[in-house]
Symmetry: C2
Subunit: 150 residues, 2 copies
């Protein structure tokens, strides 16, 4: 199967047909070749591209950020300096997300341990889990006090 039609791509990627047109209008999917009739003929890798887009959205990236990520991937021959910068910034951003997700996970597993232990948890760790965000204003002015709701 060399090429796919819209309904096939949509089904395989788990999205609505209209979403494909929408992405194309937005420039996040390249315009596929057409038959004489005007029907789109998608290359099969489109499916993976769409899946990537959907998943990246769930990871907190906007469509325009995702577009940048995808462009990055294509630009590997040209002026590497700008690409390198962008990629490095993205890596840092991703690292930051990973760290915060790990903190969130930790506070949830703490919560679970407290449930298992059948005793109430002392503090409210979930919010604190993202409290140490380094790019924020005051830079962690308050020490991690206990007793948030007395």
């Amino acid at each position: 199967m060399p090429t796919l039609r819209t309904a096939e791509v949509a089904r395989l990627a788990g999205v609505n047909v209209e979403t494909l047109r929408f992405y194309e209008r937005k420039g996040i999917l390249p315009e596929p070749p057409r038959r004489a009739s005007g029907y789109r003929e998608y290359p099969p890798e489109t499916v993976e591209r769409v899946k990537f887009i959907k998943r990246a959205q769930e990871l907190g990236f906007s469509l325009s950020e995702i577009q940048n990520l995808l462009d990055l991937r294509q630009m590997t021959g040209g002026k590497s300096d700008r690409v390198k910068h962008l990629a490095e910034a993205k890596v840092e951003e991703i690292d930051h997300k990973i760290r915060d997700l790990e903190a969130m996970k930790r506070s949830l597993t703490d919560l679970l341990r407290a449930c298992d232990g059948r005793r109430a948890i002392a503090s409210c760790p979930i919010i604190e889990s993202l409290g140490g965000c380094p790019r924020c204003i005051g830079g962690k002015s308050e020490p991690p006090t206990e007793g948030t709701t007395p």
Copy 2:
């Protein structure tokens, strides 16, 4: 400083004043006590709560998901079973996000290594980085073919 006014909370949390009212309407911020005049008097931890909300959004959670997370944190005394289930599901979800972000990071660092090496990268790893998503339809039917743009 025992309580804060809207503008103070907004400034400290890095959001618009109206966002606080919006969150309150949505129920994601609890209604703070008021003065006789109607002015809100926020407890200082509101700032951390709002920062948490903003960051959790950047990690791909919607406001209603965030509300669930925050509720979870409060429910640690009651019927632990449901709470436990929810928390466990959230931990899995977070793990999945972490794994995918790590895959994305890996493919970006690969890209960077290729840049450093001053040679073009062979394949298109970024999209493949999220290709192995287990909850997707066919379950990775296509082998990772090379030659994406012939």
